[in-house]
Symmetry: C2
Subunit: 158 residues, 2 copies
DNA sequence: CGCAATTAGTTTCCTAGTAGACAAATTCTG
DNA sequence: CAGAATTTGTCTACTAGGAAACTAATTGCG
């Protein structure tokens, strides 16, 4: 019953791995996603879906490829996600007249409603996603990650 | 929203996503792995394999499950990786007498040689893995990631 | 001791994600 | 304009990774 899963842990020497940025980032991402699923438990939703919904909500008419590029999701995968989410009735696909190769995405009414149900849980999760870190450390970490990614840092979208 | 925010170069508003720790970590990890593959180009090797080789090299006789836990790789997946790497002749699996369920891992001579070929490329990669960041920023980022992960820091035990 | 519970690893089946070929629409070039 | 090159999204096939059931060995408890 005690699901603490206490494990006989011999000390393991990580060597240079323990200083590897890629390794640390991988562990950190796994940890963060763990927190996401824990916080979202009730809603059966994945991080990628939330990000897609949020971006379409903020940028109606966004093209699939542009969405994929900004989320670092491959086009092929985005096609599947979008097809699934259209089937779920959350998003609408429209082929614009000025470029009939493209697909412009927008949220359906159901999609907006669904997002509004999920968003609070997501926001709550975000609020303490960095739990072991102090607010200052959290801010510094995010700032450095954005710098590493060459993303604009400010919250002012001028 | 009849206005078209749909041009390929149009600025995309990330909204709260741009401040999401999980999202930033995911992008950062993808970026880091990109750098890994770029640096390793010649060697056909994956990050997980390098980490497994490095940990076994440092901790001969390490058990599969312990290895998996420290690398945050699921046991099922580790079983497959280890089977593959044994087939490649890099690692040796030994069932200890005191617990015949367990498997103790060690590098073969070929494994040591292979690692010694891969390690320099990995070290070079690590040396400028955080390229857009200053050395101070890189150190801070790693320190904060370790703190986030509740890992010992090695230099600055706060 | 004998039997239940636990642990280590494996196997099977499934989902997420990628690579690369592809088709259609558009743009570029002479 | 015709035809090449590029862009946009999709399709097929493949790999990585995970959940859960399973086997075998060990431990715990009467």
């Amino acid at each position: 019953m005690a699901d603490g899963a206490k494990t006989p842990d011999a000390p393991v020497d990580l060597g240079a791995l323990g200083e590897s940025l890629g390794f640390l980032l991988r562990l950190a991402q796994l940890r963060a996603f763990e927190g996401f699923f824990e916080a979202m438990g009730d809603h059966d939703v994945r991080p990628g879906e939330v990000s897609v919904l949020m971006l379409i909500a903020r940028n109606p008419g966004l093209r699939q490829g542009v969405l994929a590029r900004h989320l670092s999701i491959k086009r092929a995968h985005m096609a599947k996600m979008v097809a699934q989410m259209e089937r779920s009735g959350w998003i609408d696909r429209r082929v614009p007249d000025d470029d009939r190769r493209a697909v412009e995405l927008s949220l359906t009414e159901a999609g907006r409603k669904y997002l509004s149900q999920v968003q609070p849980a997501f926001d709550t999760h975000e609020a303490d996603a960095a739990r072991p870190l102090s607010p200052q450390d959290e801010a510094t970490l995010k700032r450095l990650l954005k710098r590493y990614l060459s993303l604009p840092n400010g919250k002012d979208p001028t």
